[in-house]
């Protein structure tokens, strides 16, 4: 689990760094195993996740890293959740910007690699979420 926690911390830091300006100047505040408190629907198992708390002292937001799916999907999903929080806190800024386009890059697993990619054409721009 220690390696996973460190990896998730690295993911969150890389995403915050990549979002750049005008994203909020958030830092990774904590990365901890998450324990589900609420009953799940009948026949369905509770998700296994790592909880990531980020913020700047005044604002804190939380995202999850899934331990139930392959790492590329889990990484892209976490990146997307951080991106959503940042876009919401900037009233819709395209973060991170897609070069030459007006939309933000999308976080997706591509060929086994969690990537920032142009949502219209991956050939236009694709880069790994964790360099």
């Amino acid at each position: 689990m220690t390696n996973t926690i460190e990896y998730v911390r690295e993911v969150a830091r890389a995403v915050l760094h990549r979002l750049g300006d005008p994203a909020p100047r958030w830092e990774v505040l904590s990365v901890t195993p998450h324990h589900e408190l609420h009953v799940t629907p009948a026949g369905l198992a509770a998700p296994n996740s790592v909880l990531v708390t980020i913020g700047d002292g005044g604002t804190t937001v939380q995202v999850y890293y899934s331990l139930d799916v392959p790492a590329d999907l889990a990484t892209a999903t976490t990146a997307g959740q951080i991106q959503d929080h940042a876009i919401e806190h900037t009233a819709g800024a395209a973060l991170p910007p897609c070069p030459g386009h007006r939309h933000p890059l999308a976080a997706r697993p591509l060929d086994g690699v969690a990537s920032w990619t142009c949502p219209q054409d991956p050939a236009h721009h694709t880069e790994p979420i964790v360099p």
Partner: protein, 209 residues
């Protein structure tokens, strides 16, 4: 289909009883001597259904015990909201969307199809009746979802005002998947002596081309 109200109350001594459409109170005992039925409760629940595959539950816990008659009045006020009648099974096709509404809120799901996969953006708003009893912010746990019974990455939670449009995306999904989802929100409420409230909504859809 009509709304059903499933009532749960926690008596003073912590005994939980459940009944459908009526108020039940658990008997309380002190040592070996039976005492009269407890006259106060600490918790009420109202389950609201918008169809077989969509429902929500509002639970209010009180900081101080309230009289059972008073609790029943709160329950009736909270349960007396309109419910949208829906089909029994939720199917959703590419580029289609569904809206479900009950006493506790309204939620929508869409099925957006791309080449080789799809996503289900979703949104939820608390009903005006629930918003009226919320004090301060609402803490959303984050949507949990399952694809064909397998747990998928939980959506991020939010701490926001009661009129917030909660939203997220279930991603990826594919044709002919059975997708189940559930989210949980907590808040302070102003009913009676005040306390802690929660709303859980859940449903499932099957994706079609």
């Amino acid at each position: 289909m009509s709304s059903k109200a499933l009532i749960g109350m926690r008596a003073k001594l912590g005994v939980v009883v459940l009944g459908i459409g009526s108020l039940l109170v658990a008997p309380a005992f002190a040592g070996a001597t039976a005492v009269p039925v407890a006259e106060t409760v600490r918790e009420i629940s109202v389950e609201s259904s918008a169809g077989v595959n969509a429902n929500s539950v509002l639970t209010l816990t009180f900081d101080k015990p309230v009289a059972k008659a008073e609790a029943e009045r709160y329950r009736q006020e909270l349960a007396a909201q309109s419910v949208v009648q829906t089909e029994d099974v939720d199917y959703i096709s590419c580029e289609g969307d569904l809206t479900r509404s009950d006493a506790n809120g309204t939620w929508t799901v869409q099925y957006v199809c791309f080449s080789g996969y799809g996503t289900i953006p979703w949104g939820f708003r608390l009903s005006q009746a629930v918003r009226n009893i919320v004090v301060g912010l609402v803490t959303e746990d984050g949507l949990r979802w399952w694809r064909n019974g397998a747990s998928q990455p939980k959506n991020a939670g939010h701490v926001v005002p009661a009129d917030y449009h909660f939203h997220g995306t279930m991603n990826p999904v594919y044709h002919y998947n059975t997708v189940s989802y559930q989210d949980y929100m907590t808040f302070r409420h102003n009913v009676g002596p005040g306390g802690t409230g929660s709303v859980t909504f859940a449903g499932s859809v099957e994706t079609l081309p």
